[in-house]
Assembly symmetry: C2
Homo-oligomer: 351 residues x 2
């Protein structure tokens, strides 16, 4: 339940960090201001799901999947990508994570007066490059300029549109399911945080993973569609946020085996230097899946064949009375601890 | 054709004002960076239309209408509304202007650190109030916070979704069509500009018209659907921008009778004080329609019955060799002048 939000307060960075405070604020805001009847369209997925995207039933039984996001990363360019690559990839991934095949995008670009046109070209060029590779159309948008001083550099809001045979809604996660990640976690978060903190990065050590997950998700959906009960890209708040969301929304307990979670050594080292848990660091090219146990091993094999060589089973979903809604980490040292929902400021302007 | 855009330059307020410079910049940006095959989905309306919205064909022949916008008005509260009312109304109107029945919205809200929560509640409350009145669902969204100094106050990006029997695409305007406006123009632009310039406004004299046009457009679409060839709400750049867009995209000449255009006296007076042509001032609750001449008079009567008492025919579309793509104003004094596409800075952060 949302607690501790008093209207006399002001918005903090924590409210926007994608962790517990964001969830509490958004839930309070809309539960107070928007009648429940307007949280979704009949038969579709809406606000109540607190998912990556929403859905609208189409004639014939399929669903339109739609998603809205804003992107405001700082710095605008980073090893592995830039704001444009991030916006296109993130939008495409949100559609995929609800089981949709991405078809089209719209954008609303807001730029600060004085922003160099060549930088605008560079960022929009990265965005359209991804769209071109993915065959996703950019069918409309909006362009505005804010006076100098009213906005720092550039902000890109996007709307993603796709079509799903059946939307994947994470509340569908069930006891017995295995939890799979498609690759090393925390890559995007580590590089952005290191840059924001002014750490010098040895060449190639840290690199954002910002990428569309189409070549993973479309084959998986085709072969294992009904066995994928939950899917999310662990962006703000990282793996810790995704799994806590899932445990809460499905009222289960998620057990994670720490030594099974793929984290590259440099990400581990920088996380330690930065004093942050890599489980809370954002990924922008990783899928977390909750899948039927009967196909989990086979699915991981297939993911590796598809080029996702670090894919692996990292945990499972259980019914454990008294621990509903929690994530339990079985640590490398053999102990157990609760993996909390991330709180506090985390990393501002990370995506 | 886009001219005078050099990549060594920087973004100016004019680039974002919604006039000629915006159109030139956006056209150049996407024609250079996005292959034509990705400007629309097969059978749908896309970027090439430079319209208020885009469309996606649905199974069964209808079209999904989608729109993306960002709202960043300053001041946040003004006579007649606030940012939230503006965002909801503008989104709904963009769907309506493509002939769609508005069904759902998504939002991406970005707030400055330190923004008062009660102000967030007030603005989101205005937005949801409109959605409630209109029965439009808010099915998803995103919430981010930018550090203090990186954003002035709050920005709301929205995605609107609706369904159209047949999308209204403004290039369908044809010679002989009559041009109708649904009410007094320039109301929103006048009040925002007066406030930004620090003019004191006598109580009630100026007032934004920000409102959804559902109770106008749905009855009109039902009764006169096929006779409405073009529809637009004249926001940034005002009536002058809308009519110039239409003349260019349909390769016609639009004649406007100045004395037929409804402008309230206080708007006229403030425009004069501010040194701006009221034809370039934004409206946020007015529809401009291009309609078959056989139904124009009758349609105006019906609009008045629906409560739009100032509706009227203000001009007509002609084929006039040598004047293609231009708007000709027949002035009150009996003269004729070209009504140019607005240029320059116009009003920043007007919507």
């Amino acid at each position: 339940m949302p607690t501790g939000i008093v209207l006399e307060d002001r918005v903090t960075l924590a409210h926007g960090a994608g962790g517990k405070e964001t969830e509490d604020l958004v839930r309070k805001l809309f539960s107070e201001l928007l009648p429940r009847s307007l949280w979704s369209l009949r038969g579709g997925v809406g606000l109540e799901a607190m998912d990556d995207a929403a859905s609208i039933p189409l004639p014939g039984g399929r669903h339109l999947v739609v998603t809205a996001d804003s992107y405001t990363v700082k710095p605008l360019w980073f090893p592995g990508g830039d704001l444009g690559r991030l916006a296109a990839s993130g939008t495409i991934n949100d559609v995929l994570m609800m089981g949709g095949r991405p078809l089209a995008m719209l954008d609303a670009i807001v730029v600060e007066e004085g922003f160099p046109l060549k930088d605008l070209w560079s960022i929009v060029g990265s965005m359209t490059e991804i769209l071109g590779e993915e065959g996703v159309a950019l069918i409309g948008g909006d362009f505005k300029v804010m006076p100098h001083g009213d906005l720092d550099s550039i902000l890109v809001a996007t709307m993603g549109i796709g079509v799903a045979e059946k939307p994947i809604v994470d509340s569908n996660l069930r006891p017995g399911d295995k939890v799979i990640v498609s690759g090393n976690i925390g890559e995007h978060g580590a590089v952005i945080m290191a840059l924001q903190q002014g750490l010098s990065i040895s060449s190639g050590e840290l690199r954002s993973d910002a990428s569309p997950l189409t070549r993973l998700m479309l084959p998986l959906l085709e072969r294992y569609g009904d066995s994928i009960h939950a899917a999310r890209d662990p962006t703000r708040g990282g793996l810790a946020m995704t799994l806590n969301d899932w445990a809460q929304i499905s009222n289960t307990t998620i057990y994670v085996w720490e030594n099974a979670v793929p984290i590259r050594e440099p990400v581990r080292v920088y996380s330690e230097m930065l004093g942050i848990d890599p489980f809370t660091l954002a990924s922008e090219g990783v899928a977390v899946l909750g899948v039927d146990p009967s196909v989990a091993e086979e699915m991981v094999e297939y993911m590796r064949e598809l080029g996702f060589r670090d894919a692996g089973i990292i945990g499972e979903v259980r019914l454990n009375r008294g621990l509903e809604g929690l994530v339990v980490l079985e640590t490398v040292s053999g102990g157990r601890r609760i993996l909390d929902q991330p709180r506090g400021e985390l990393v501002p302007r990370i995506c």
